[in-house]
């Protein structure tokens, strides 16, 4: 069930009511566990069973790693957990992709090949909860986190419905202690949760789904559209994916707050980044830090030679791209970001011994230029991320660079510019702390009325039948 559906509203209100009526912390944990299983099972009962089984397995493995002292036993258990989790991920998500790619490669080499097509249903959220399970077992192995003794607590960590299907990827050391702490009703926390949820709902309905009206027709058949329409579609998609994903995260964070749990921030105004490295500190923070801690650093990080660092960056970003989806366009997107990060490091090294150039780049016009170039580079990456095929991506890029006649934008671009203006203003208010200062000074009834208007506006601007969240497919 989608967060912005009536079904979720009924589900949430029911669980929320019972949760806070229950006086016992343990009962609340079990309620959350049951609710989370029901939430996942509403998509597919059998896949819900799989996630329960793998979670139970990781619980046992972690307890084993805590119990055993022999390094070979502990490593063996870790490998078991990694193989099981990654094996399931590879099977459900990548098996057909690898088989198709192999068949294509063999045919290109002149061989007769016909690979089987596996009938698999992709378990929703598998990429997210697999990474959470991995971060837990690795941290237990490294003795950064003690194995959770309570099975229900551990299962809530993995299955907690606000973050289950599209993150944020939660760290065990941040979440598990919260499962032990009894929760007290806190009006301020409820307000914070409601505010986050409302913000997410507005981003999803009023912005992301509306921007899809600009982007979807153009990405479906870019050859029909003019250069102007293609540029607008790319801009719209940049807004769509940001507001869709960050909107979901806000709703997840808001929902969690309302149960007394805190989830990590996952976005921090990524489009104001001045360079690509900063972008990755602001975009999908839970994934980028996971990749840094569990892939980049174990590969050697930036401790080795330049070549080794660049190799590690490229590997990390390529796998990061592949994580998003079983398609070569996602791989290329990852490779592109790898190249941008390598280029950024090289450029930084180039600027370091050149203080005048460095100062120029740090100036306001220089910063504006860097922000614009970073945004442009990210948008080019989004073309590969969104396009169904390389041919479509190539057509989009060609039309962006070489002026072409064609169909105009699917929708009057007035609503796009107003939406961009709104997003820019909101960013400005958040960036300079003005929103916090204003919100504190506003009389509570006015603030409440503002919530009502924002919610009503989100509902009015919602497009036709609810669109799924983009990151649900990953």
């Amino acid at each position: 069930m989608l967060f912005c559906s009536q079904q979720y509203l009924v589900f949430f209100v029911a669980i929320f009511t019972v949760y806070w009526l229950l006086p016992w912390h343990r009962a609340r944990v079990w309620l959350l566990l049951g609710a989370s299983f029901y939430f996942y099972a509403s998509w597919n009962k059998w896949l819900a069973t799989i996630i329960v089984i793998t979670t139970a397995m990781d619980y046992v493995v972690a307890r084993g790693m805590d119990t055993f002292t022999a390094e070979w036993k502990r490593r063996g258990l870790l490998i078991l957990s990694l193989v099981a989790n990654l094996g399931l991920l590879v099977y459900f998500k990548y098996a057909n992709f690898f088989l198709e790619s192999l068949e294509h490669a063999l045919r290109s080499a002149g061989a007769q090949a016909s690979m089987p097509v596996l009938q698999v249903i992709l378990p929703i959220g598998i990429s997210f909860y697999t990474f959470e399970a991995i971060n837990y077992t690795v941290d237990v192995y490294r003795r950064r986190v003690a194995a959770e003794k309570n099975l229900a607590n551990f299962m809530v960590f993995i299955l907690f419905f606000p973050h289950l299907v599209a993150g944020p990827i939660v760290r065990a050391r941040d979440f598990l202690p919260q499962t032990h702490r009894p929760k007290r009703w806190d009006w301020a926390r409820m307000q914070l949760g409601a505010q986050y949820f409302l913000m997410g709902l507005f981003k999803k309905l009023a912005i992301a789904d509306r921007m899809a009206l600009f982007a979807d027709p153009v990405f479906a058949d870019p050859g029909q559209y003019s250069t102007h329409a293609v540029w607008l579609a790319v801009l719209a998609y940049a807004l769509q994916i940001y507001c869709d994903f960050s909107g979901y995260t806000d709703m997840a964070i808001g929902s969690a707050h309302m149960f007394g749990y805190k989830l990590a921030q996952n976005f921090n105004m990524p489009y104001i980044a001045l360079n690509i490295a900063e972008f990755w500190h602001r975009w999908h923070i839970s994934l980028s830090t996971w990749l840094r801690d569990y892939l980049f650093i174990p590969l050697g990080g930036s401790r080795g030679t330049t070549w080794q660092t660049n190799r590690n960056l490229m590997l990390t970003m390529t796998l990061g791209g592949l994580w998003h989806g079983a398609s070569w366009t996602f791989v290329v997107w990852g490779v592109l970001h790898g190249l941008l990060l390598i280029g950024h490091r090289a450029f930084r090294s180039f600027c370091k011994p050149r203080p005048r150039l460095d100062n120029l780049l740090q100036s306001i016009p220089g910063s504006a230029l860097r922000m614009a170039l970073t945004f442009l580079a990210v948008c080019v990456g989004w073309i590969f991320f969104r396009a169904q095929t390389f041919a479509a991506a190539a057509t989009m890029l060609h039309r962006m660079v070489i002026p072409h006649e064609g169909l105009g934008s699917p929708l009057h671009n007035r609503s796009l510019w107003y939406t961009i203006a709104l997003v820019v203003i909101c960013h400005a208010l958040a960036y300079n702390g003005a929103w916090k200062r204003i919100a504190v000074r506003l009389p509570a009834p006015v603030l409440g009325f503002g919530y009502a208007v924002a919610l009503t506006l989100a509902l009015v601007l919602a497009p036709d039948a609810g669109k799924a969240f983009i990151y649900f497919q990953f």
């Binding site: 009536q6 806190d186 009006w187 301020a188 409820m190 307000q191 914070l192 409601a194 509306r210 009206l213 699917p410 929708l411 009057h412 007035r414 609503s415 509570a444 009834p445 603030l447 409440g448 009325f449 503002g450 919530y451 009502a452 208007v453 919610l455 009503t456 509902l459 009015v460 601007l461 919602a462 497009p463 036709d464």
Partner: protein, 375 residues
């Protein structure tokens, strides 16, 4: 100096007040619109009807009241009837001001036409002559709800109309459930009508509901867009084929739509409103999709309606050449003009009341006109 505990308590009180006010304000906004719609903004409930009714009301708010001809129908009527072209002719024929109004509504069938007439009568917009489009494909029996139920959702109905449509095979329980689900959140339920009203450019064309606002004073907005290439025409024909062809092959006359048409004509008789059934132009390809036995059923039914209710039948199926269609059943500008002018020349005159001051005498006999001849 406040302590941490006092600050926390103050923050908690403030948060509680903000949330309670937020919920109350949200409820107030919804309730406000739910009350405003029936009183001041009825066009938000059913914009397809509302804007046209408002336009017709404007036209009839003159003294003396003009002779009013209204045509009910589907998109075929929307595109095909250039009602304004007929007003001068009829005014001359009758010797009094005449309003001819195109009340076509997308997706309309007999049930929508019946509801439209009931609404018009309830609002005092009584026509002096009613033309009713008959879309033959909608007169069949179907498993489940009639075809037009797809285009008449609960949000476009007044609550009192739900029991009415129940009689014609609409899923009443689902409709009622959907109606009550939508009632507490009218800003969401009628969002397309709202955005169409004030920010139409923010919606793609298929979601806009303000088409009636752009109509000319006679309710006609535009003809169907002519295809630019033969391929586009074929694509349009293929869409029509997918919509109608299979239905016509397994067509069996009967069901709720026929009942609705009966009731509509009975209402006209009860109200003393002369009526005419209009079979709109269809291209040769569309006409070829009717198996002979099916057309015989339809023809027999229309004839029965004529006899039972005293309605005139205007069979315009073959009035327009194929090149004047966008997709073998929606008329482009040339086709709309041809159809309208011929309707004015041949179809309407015998339906008009005799004018004592007019030099032209119009026959009051309701003659049979079932098999039309090509132009």
């Amino acid at each position: 100096m406040t302590t941490t505990g006092e600050r926390r308590a103050a923050n908690g009180r403030r948060a509680r007040v903000a949330l309670v006010w937020g919920l109350a304000a949200f409820a107030g906004l919804q309730l406000g619109l739910a009350v405003a719609i029936p009183r001041w903004l009825p066009e938000l409930r059913d914009p397809f009807y509302g804007y046209k009714a408002a336009r017709l009301r404007e036209r009839l708010a003159v003294d003396p009241r003009p002779f009013t001809v209204v045509m009910l129908g589907s998109s075929r009527t929307i595109y095909g009837l250039r009602a304004g072209l007929l007003e001068e002719r009829l005014t001359a024929a009758l010797g009094r001001p005449t309003v001819v109004f195109n009340f076509g509504i997308f997706g309309a069938g007999p049930v929508t036409e019946l509801l439209t007439l009931r609404r018009l009568l309830a609002e005092g917009l009584r026509p002096d002559l009613l033309l009713v489009e008959v879309l033959p494909a909608l007169l069949g029996t179907y498993a489940g709800a009639p075809l037009e139920a797809h285009w008449l959702p609960a949000t476009r109905l007044w609550l009192r109309e739900v029991p009415v449509v129940k009689r014609y095979g609409f899923p009443a329980r689902e409709l009622k459930h959907a109606w009550w689900q939508a009632w507490p959140v009218p800003w969401y339920a009628h969002r397309f009508a709202i955005v169409s009203r004030w920010f139409p450019a923010w919606l793609p064309s298929q979601l806009r509901q303000d088409w009636g606002r752009g109509d000319d004073p006679s309710g006609w907005a535009t003809a169907a867009r002519p295809p630019r290439t033969p391929e586009q025409y074929q694509a349009g024909v293929e869409r029509a084929r997918q919509e109608y062809h299979d239905h016509l092959q397994t067509f069996a006359l009967g069901g709720p739509s026929c009942l609705a048409l009966h009731e509509l004509l009975a209402l006209c008789r009860q109200e003393g409103i002369p009526s005419a059934l209009v079979l709109m132009p269809e291209g040769s390809e569309f006409r070829s999709w009717y198996p002979p036995a099916v057309w015989a059923q339809i023809a027999g039914f229309v004839e029965m309606l004529r006899q039972e209710h005293g309605s005139t039948v205007i069979n315009a199926r073959e009035w327009v050449p194929d090149h004047a269609f966008a997709d073998t059943h929606h008329l482009v500008l040339e086709g709309a003009t041809l159809f309208t002018e011929r309707l004015g020349r041949e179809g309407l005159p015998r339906l008009l009341p005799v004018s004592t001051t007019s030099a032209r005498m119009v026959s009051r006999r309701r003659s049979e006109e079932f098999c039309g001849s090509p132009p």
